[in-house]
């Protein structure tokens, strides 16, 4: 054994084979199987943080931040539906399945959304009576798996969202590992209990955009052309896909960027497929502009929307509304150190540690062992989410986002959040300027635009 030395030691870092890469290689070598996890892309990509508002000063006239009205009402589905959706705020709750989440979590999300006058969305497991009861406005997803899909629930919905793909795994199907296939989940999905369930990645009854048009017509015929029909796509070839969705007859197009979440899929899929939400939004808006459908077809953007500033920037770039999933879960208590039970905060750190993670870093939705009782189907863990407490927190969160949104809108001189515009924005990085096609702050430069 060599003797210890007092000489300073310089350990050269390895950027090609850093800690994360070494861990990945060693895990792959040990298990021979890719990693499955929940949530969305964690890698650094350009985001709405890389934009800033050019609020009013001498050349623009601001509105008073507290007293002057700033409208947040949002209407979706004006193209064909007899009953468009009217929302109080342009922030909706994204599709998350019962199965991935507990019935209690769905209930809490529905209540919070209802109190704020916005919608929530079913997921890859059908509609539960709890979420229908608690959700004032409920969007019913038609997914490739069609688990639990039926005409009675369809007619009870307020809007339909045909899901072509999602940002966390565009081109892939859902996944729910056996530990979350409880008897109730299995029954709703017509699956044996306890199996590792892999949802289809393609719809069973149509292929291609011409068929999609007929499928959307079927859904409209079934609901007597009353309900708005959304088409949700995972952000890859956004321009083409938005145009095809519009050509197929969508009232609303939902574009989910690569930071969009999932309850479980392959890590390689989450981090290495799709394009960032920022780039996706610009492409989606351009697609609508090119086919002269801005305003006729509404655009909802999702994937890593976290704050009122994100919402405001998304609207300024051309979205009609945003949809939030992971952030709503976090408002419920996902990744918090404590959960709330019997009026007390209970420390869950040891439970995070037991599944190999810590508060703030958990993406273990796939295990069903959610330390805070949100992404589980285990009765004991489900009790950790106090529905009233959770609903209040999500409502508070939505309220905060809305206040931040209107604060920025007023400061830009807008009496309606939908009047925010691209001209109100500047980019802080070259990458964001290029992706969002917003000039780099202090310049007129948009990289890649007009031959620059």
């Amino acid at each position: 054994m060599s003797k210890p030395t007092d000489k300073p030691v310089y350990i050269e870092p390895n950027y090609t084979y850093g800690d994360a890469t070494l861990h990945y290689i060693q895990q792959a070598a040990e298990h021979g199987l890719y990693e499955i996890r929940g949530l969305g892309a964690k890698r650094r990509v350009p985001t709405f943080d890389d934009l800033t508002f050019l609020t009013a000063s001498a050349s623009r006239y601001p509105l008073e931040g507290y007293r002057e009205k700033c409208e947040t009402k949002t209407v979706l589905g004006t193209r064909f539906a007899k009953k468009p959706i009217e929302l109080g705020i342009p922030i909706t709750i994204a599709g998350m399945s019962f199965g991935a989440l507990t019935a209690q979590a769905k209930d809490a999300l529905g209540r919070a959304a209802g109190e704020m006058g916005t919608s929530t969305t079913t997921g890859d497991g059908g509609m539960t009576p709890e979420e229908r009861r608690s959700s004032k406005t409920l969007v019913y997803q038609c997914l490739p798996s069609r688990y639990g899909f039926n005409p009675d629930d369809l007619r009870q919905a307020d809007a339909i969202e045909l899901v072509v793909g999602q940002g966390a795994k565009p081109g892939g199907g859902g996944m729910l590992l056996g530990q979350k296939i409880s008897p109730r989940v299995a029954g709703m999905r017509t699956l044996p209990e306890g199996i590792d369930q892999r949802s289809a990645c393609r719809h069973p009854d149509w292929t291609g955009s011409d068929d999609l048009a007929i499928k959307l017509s079927e859904l409209r015929e079934l609901t007597d052309w009353q309900l708005p029909v959304y088409v949700k796509i995972g952000a890859t070839r956004v321009k083409n896909d938005v145009k095809l969705a519009v050509a197929a007859g969508a009232d609303v197009v939902v574009v989910d960027g690569m930071q969009g979440g999932t309850a479980a899929t392959q890590q390689v899929f989450i981090e290495h497929a799709g394009i960032p939400t920022l780039a996706a939004l610009r492409q989606a808006v351009e697609a609508l502009e090119e086919i002269d459908m801005v305003g006729e077809v509404q655009l909802v953007i999702s994937g890593g929307i976290r704050s009122g500033a994100d919402v405001a920037k998304a609207l300024a770039m051309g979205a009609d509304a945003v949809s939030i999933g992971q952030a709503a879960m976090m408002a419920l208590g996902c990744n918090a150190r404590h959960y709330h039970m019997d009026g007390q905060l209970v420390d869950a750190t040891a439970d995070y540690a037991a599944i190999g993670t810590a508060p703030g870093y958990c993406h273990h939705c796939h295990t069903g062992l959610c330390p805070v009782g949100i992404a589980t189907q285990t009765p004991e863990l489900e009790k950790r989410l106090d529905v009233d407490w959770g609903a209040r927190r999500v409502k508070n969160y939505l309220q905060t986002l809305t206040m931040e949104l209107t604060t920025l809108a007023r400061a830009c001189g807008k009496s309606n959040v939908h009047n925010l515009e691209r001209e109100d924005l500047a980019a802080l990085t070259i990458e964001a300027a290029a992706m969002a096609k917003i000039p780099l702050a202090g310049t007129e430069w948009i990289p890649g635009h007009d031959g620059c």
Binding site: H31, G32, L33, I36, S145, R146, F149, N150, P151, L154, L177, G178, R189, T190, L191, P192, I195, D196, A200, P204, D205, W206, D211, I214, K215, S217, E218, E221, L222, T223, D224, W225
Partner: protein, 236 residues
Amino acid sequence: METMTDTDKAVRFDLDETSVRDLNQFLHHELAESGARHIEVLNPNGRHNIAVGMDAPVSVDIRGHAGYFIGGMNKQAGITVHGNVGWSVGENIMSGSIRVKGNASECAGASGHGGLVVIEGDASSRCGISMKGCDIVVGGSVGHMSAFMAQLGTLVVCGDADPGLGDSLYEAVIYVRGTIRGLGADAQAEPMGEEDYARVAALLDKAGFDHDPKAFRRVASARTLYHWNADHHQEY
């Protein structure tokens, strides 16, 4: 819309004169009040989405060839197409029955939860894909990847089955009388038992086909894909 007679409580729609939307609106909202027990649809001429979302114990006869999604999400009604159909006839059927006197294109009975789909001729590929409890009886042959990811229910094929039959099956069961040109991942041929003979006989009887149940072979899931397993090496 035309009332055929006062006694048989039947109404007739000519789709050269009435839109599919008007037909469906009648079926959804005015049928019960009309007292009609039988609906006849003339000149379908390949139109899509005819008689989707029905929820009444009536019979519907579609006289001619029809397009996609005929009888989609049907409940209770007995729908007969006197011709061929396009894709996804009876998709998501919940109950009742749909009979196609001719051939069906792809994905017949896709994701059906209950009820019966009968194709008297051939059905193209992915017949019974994702089925969740319905029964499908095909008088002729089925195309490739039929019963792909089928979860529950029964597919009876009186003719042949193209390759990829029963790929990624869950608990649905397939019976084939003719040649099986290849099984899909995790599908396996299994011996027939008395219960199988009875199940096939009952469905043949309901579908109106006269075959010996003993001539059928059973295909079901080997259940090797039910749990995540790296040792498959993706060689399914």
